[in-house]
Symmetry: C2
Subunit: 232 residues, 2 copies
């Protein structure tokens, strides 16, 4: 009743459906305007504005003025990590939203999770990295191996430079659609950036879905092979 941090305050902020929708929309990693977020949440601009100032006061969001626009983004990767965990937990407890919309299949296949790849493709990528011995899986924790170091070097990714005090290099992020882990952390982000830079895929507008090109999918599957080739 007295000691410790006030978790209820943060949880209440996330607990409102409109605010939760806004936060999930920002898991796309891009900063969005108040109007865009109002649309994502399905409320009027007036309501959205009130929500956004609450989220900002609560330290979950940051705001940047740019001309007459106001861009909002998640405050930092700690907030994104919390939302990921929350989504993972909600998925395992069966708290799915009622209407899986028409573009849901695309989201299950490949989507962006704040700044890294999630969905079927994301899970496959981590599986492949573990199979090849690039990443060591110890329970839920992930560690980069020496051979993994070399593998990423060949792709032009310097894993050593990705180590930061603020954020883990490898992070297991529970995937809500697959209910298995995909790769987050700075390495997960670097790999996603690599995929986009190489033009293997592009983002769907106004969605977190990622669409691979035919050629991009071929190269992705070749780069990250897995043992048992099952097709859905």
């Amino acid at each position: 009743m007295k000691e410790g941090p006030d978790i209820a305050r943060i949880a209440t902020l996330i607990g409102d459906p409109a605010r939760a929708n806004m936060l999930m929309a920002l898991m796309g990693g891009q900063a969005l305007t108040a109007t865009e977020l109002a649309g994502a949440a399905g409320v009027t601009l007036a309501t959205a504005s009130a929500h956004l100032s609450k989220l900002e006061d609560g330290g979950l969001l940051t705001q940047r003025k740019q001309g007459r626009h106001r861009y909002f983004a998640l405050a930092d990767s700690a907030v994104a990590g919390l939302l990921e965990d929350l989504a993972g937990l909600a998925a395992t407890r069966g708290h799915l939203r009622h209407r899986p919309g028409p573009r849901d299949p695309a989201l299950r296949r490949a989507r962006i999770c704040y700044d890294h790849l999630a969905g079927d493709f994301g899970v496959r990528m981590l599986d492949s990295l573990i199979e090849r011995g690039a990443i060591l899986e110890e329970g839920e924790a992930l560690a980069l191996t020496g051979s993994g170091h070399r593998f990423f070097c060949e792709m032009g990714i310097d894993a050593e430079a990705l180590k930061t005090p603020r954020r883990p290099l490898c992070r297991a992020c529970l995937d809500w659609s697959e209910r298995r882990s995909h790769l987050g952390g700075t390495l997960g982000k670097a790999l996603f950036d690599h995929i986009m830079a190489e033009g293997l895929a592009r983002r769907e507008p106004d969605s977190r879905a990622i669409r691979f090109t035919r050629e991009g999918e071929r190269r992705f599957l070749a780069l990250f092979p897995v043992q048992d080739a099952d097709a859905a």
Copy 2:
């Protein structure tokens, strides 16, 4: 409004102050009765009962009937992990509860965090393990080294046996009082169990505080030395 898991539902459950207090009380790791939880939350039994069934429906709690008592506990370590993260985030955003009660200093010093040691002593323990090279810190991620393996073996802890698919061996858990990490995961639990089994400390009744004996504190400090000896 459409895709993905319903994070708002889980967050709403945690977002009510009474329910948050109950959950934090259960972070002590022990199962508690409905009456005890009502006391912890500061509500009547009727109100508590309603909250508890919501939490159980939401999959955050499990219930065990035992005679005419009903014992509640956190559903699993995933829930505990989420609450830890939430508390860590709340602490860094300055969302502290208003009245740091009289026993607050004892909590800052040493307390239980679901099933492992937290507070000043918990942070010191992890610092010491990193200094001695038993645990490798890569950003926010933690990994056990070979020398750490041997060190824990000498204490009678077989780290190999602690690896589980469900839960990480080492987990960095942001400490709300120190704002630095302490050691969670199955290894963190094993070390805490070791400390209690050796009689270095005992639990305060009705609190998450851990009180070290004079001799226990001496042995703890000898076992986990740190470089710069600063005293509060």
